[in-house]
C-alpha cells in the first residue's frame, strides 16, 4: 500500500507582481502514513502552510508531485476524492463558520456531498459527539467561545468523514483553556478514531504531543523524527529561531549544571516524575 500522503521533489513558487517568483517549497520528499500524528513546526515563512495546502490539493505543485492514497493531486479527476479524504481546519474559527446554528454549520460539508438527509443527520450527530458539543447543536456559533467555535470547525471537517485532518495553527487565537480543549480533541481523534493528523503550530509544547515532528526551514524539511529526538537538538533549533518545550528547556539547564536526567523529558509531568 502506498503511504497515505507522499510528496516527491515538491516545489512551490508564488508569482510576484513584477513577474518574478518567490520559492516557498524547494524540494520536499515526505511520506505520512495512515494514523500518524505529525507536528509541523518552523519559523514564519519556512513553508509550513504552503506544504499543508498541497496535502488536499488547495495548491498545485510548481514541480514535483503529491499523492494522497496514491492519487495525484495535480489530476483534476482526483481532487474531489482527495479533498474528501483530507480535511482542513484553519487558524481563525470566525472565518470558517457559515451557518446560523451549530448543527447547520456542521451539516454544510455532508450536504455538499449530496448525502441523504438521514445520513447527514447521523454524521452531524457523530461529529458533534466526537468534539463534545452535542448540547450546543441549536446554538448560534457566534455566541460560543473561541475554543468552542474551533470545535465546531473540527466537527464540520469530521462530518465529511476524512481519513486525515490538517490543522493550520488551530490554537493560536485561543485562550489557554481553549488551546487545551482543542489539543485534547486532536489527540483523541488520532488515538481513538485513527484519524491521521498533521498539526502546524508555533508552540513547541504542542508539537511535543505529536509522535513525529517535522521542522521546516527555507522551504525544505530540516529535521524529521520523534519529538524526543528532535528536541534533543537544542542548538540547531535555536539557530532556526525555535525554542524547546518548556520542560525540555528546564531539563537541559539542569543537565548543564551536572544533574543526570533521563532523555526525552518533554512535559512537566514526565519531568516532575523524573525529579521525584
Amino acid at each position: 500500500m502506498p503511504p497515505f500522503i507522499e510528496t516527491r521533489g515538491l516545489e512551490h513558487a508564488y508569482p510576484l507582481e513584477d513577474g518574478g517568483q518567490v520559492a516557498a517549497l524547494r524540494g520536499v520528499d515526505l511520506a505520512v502514513e495512515r494514523g500518524e500524528f505529525v507536528a509541523l513546526v518552523g519559523p514564519n515563512g519556512s513553508g509550513k502552510s504552503t506544504l499543508a495546502r498541497h496535502f488536499n490539493g488547495l495548491l498545485m505543485p510548481t514541480a514535483g508531485q503529491v499523492r494522497v492514497e496514491g492519487l495525484l493531486t495535480s489530476d483534476d479527476r482526483n481532487l474531489w476524492t482527495v479533498r474528501q479524504r483530507v480535511g482542513m481546519v484553519f487558524q481563525n474559527p470566525d472565518n470558517q463558520l457559515v451557518a446560523s446554528t451549530v448543527e447547520e454549520d456542521v451539516a454544510f460539508g455532508p450536504e455538499n456531498q449530496a448525502l441523504p438527509p438521514a445520513e447527514i443527520r447521523r454524521r452531524v450527530d457523530e461529529a458533534l459527539d466526537a468534539v463534545g458539543l452535542a448540547a450546543y447543536r441549536t446554538h448560534p456559533p457566534q455566541m460560543l467561545s473561541g475554543g468552542q467555535k474551533q470545535l465546531v470547525a473540527i466537527a464540520g471537517a469530521l462530518a465529511t468523514r476524512p481519513a486525515c485532518i490538517v490543522f493550520d495553527e488551530p490554537t493560536s487565537m485561543l485562550d489557554p483553556p481553549g488551546r487545551r480543549q482543542i489539543l485534547e480533541t486532536i489527540r483523541r481523534l488520532n488515538a481513538g478514531e485513527g484519524i491521521t493528523v498533521v498539526l502546524i503550530t508555533q508552540s513547541m509544547d504542542e508539537a511535543a504531543s505529536a509522535r513525529r515532528v517535522l521542522v521546516m526551514d527555507g522551504g525544505r524539511i530540516a529535521m524529521d523524527g520523534p519529538p524526543e529526538r528532535v528536541f534533543e537538538q537544542r542548538e540547531q533549533l535555536r539557530a532556526l529561531g525555535l525554542d524547546l518545550p518548556q520542560a525540555a528547556e528546564i531539563a537541559h539547564r539542569l543537565r548543564s549544571w551536572g544533574m543526570s536526567l533521563p532523555a526525552g523529558l518533554l512535559t512537566m509531568e514526565t519531568l516532575a516524575n523524573a525529579l521525584c
Partner: protein, 298 residues
C-alpha cells in the same frame, strides 16, 4: 493617570442580542506602569482596552484620562485620546499605504506636523521596532515578512509618540524568535520613553517577561489585580477565572506537593530550573554552578 470607575458596557443594548461585556470594572493605572490584562475569551479584555482608548462610550461608570472623560466629544478629550496608542490584534491587517514610510508617517501627518518632524518621527519609530529606516522605508509593505509587517504596524503607532501604549496580543502568529524580538523592542521603547504599557495577552510567559502588574478579568469583572509573580502563581485564583497556571508554576507546585522545599512562584523555565538546582544544591548562593558539566564527568 488612567482611572476606570464602575465601568459597564453592553453590546446591542435594548435588543434580544444584548450582551453585557463589562459589569462594573474599576482600576487605576499610573504613568510609566507596565500592566498586563489577562482573562479567558469573552472576559471583556478587548472591550476594556477600547474604553481606555476612548473608542467606546460607557453604559455606566467612567473612564478618565488625567480626569478627562476618555470618550467625550470635547477638545480636551481629543487631546487626551491622542496620548493613547492602541494596536489591535493582527495590526498589519490595517496597513494600507504603498510604502513603509508613508504607512508610518500616516499618523504624524494627520497631526499636521511639518515634514522634517514627520521624517524624524518615522525614522525614530522604525529604529524603535528594530528596522533599518534606510533599508526599509521605500519598500511596499505587502512584500515584507509577517514579522516585519507586524513591526511596521507597531512603528505606525509609536510614531504618534503615545504616552500610553496598548498592545492586544502583539505576538499572535509570530514564531518564537519573532516573538522574543518584538517583546525586546517593546521593552526598549518603554525604557527610553517611560510611557505606560498595557499588554493584553493569553501568553503567560510573555506577561511574566514584560509586565510588573497583572489585572485578571473574568465575566466582565476584575477577578484579581496585583504583582505579576503573585497573580500568575495563584493556581486557585487563575482556575476560578477560567485560566491555567504557567507550566513552570505547575511543575513547582508538583514538586512542592511531593515535599520539596521550593518556591512555587517561578514563572519562567529558566527561573524554575534555577530554583530546582538551588533546592538540589547544584548551584551556589550566588547562582553559579557548584560544578560544571565537564567537571562533573571527571
Amino acid at each position: 493617570m488612567i482611572r476606570v470607575e464602575d465601568l459597564v458596557h453592553t453590546y446591542a443594548p435594548g435588543t434580544p442580542l444584548a450582551r453585557t461585556a463589562l459589569r462594573g470594572v474599576s482600576l487605576e493605572i499610573g504613568p510609566g506602569e507596565r500592566v498586563g490584562i489577562v482573562g479567558p475569551t469573552g472576559s471583556g479584555k478587548s472591550t476594556l482596552v477600547q474604553h481606555l482608548a476612548g473608542l467606546l462610550e460607557p453604559a455606566a461608570g467612567r473612564v478618565g484620562l488625567d480626569g478627562v472623560p476618555a470618550h467625550a466629544r470635547t477638545v480636551a478629550a481629543r487631546a487626551q485620546r491622542r496620548r493613547v496608542g492602541l494596536a489591535f490584534q493582527y495590526p498589519e491587517d490595517q496597513i494600507f499605504e504603498q510604502t513603509v514610510f508613508r504607512e508610518v508617517a500616516f499618523g504624524p501627518r494627520n497631526l499636521e506636523l511639518d515634514e522634517p518632524e514627520v521624517t524624524d518621527r518615522v525614522r525614530w519609530a522604525l529604529e524603535m521596532v528594530g528596522l533599518d529606516p534606510a533599508a526599509i522605508e521605500r519598500r511596499v509593505p505587502f512584500t515584507l515578512s509577517g514579522g516585519e509587517m507586524r513591526r511596521v504596524a507597531l512603528a505606525g503607532i509609536l510614531s504618534l509618540r503615545p504616552e500610553v501604549l496598548i498592545l492586544d496580543e502583539p505576538t499572535a502568529g509570530l514564531d518564537p524568535r519573532g516573538r522574543r524580538e518584538l517583546l525586546a523592542r517593546v521593552l526598549a521603547w518603554h525604557e527610553q520613553t517611560h510611557a505606560t504599557l498595557i499588554l493584553v495577552s493569553h501568553n503567560l510567559d510573555e506577561l511574566a517577561r514584560v509586565v510588573e502588574r497583572v489585572v485578571v478579568l473574568a465575566g466582565g469583572r476584575v477577578a484579581a489585580d496585583g504583582p505579576v509573580r503573585q497573580v500568575l502563581s495563584d493556581g486557585e485564583l487563575l482556575r476560578a477565572a477560567g485560566l491555567d497556571v504557567p507550566p513552570a508554576v505547575a511543575l513547582m507546585q508538583a514538586l512542592w506537593a511531593a515535599g520539596w522545599e521550593v518556591r512555587t512562584d517561578r514563572l519562567l523555565a529558566e527561573e524554575a530550573a534555577s530554583e530546582i538546582a538551588r533546592a538540589l544544591g547544584l548551584l551556589e548562593r550566588n547562582g553559579r554552578p557548584r560544578r560544571s558539566r565537564e567537571e562533573g564527568r571527571t
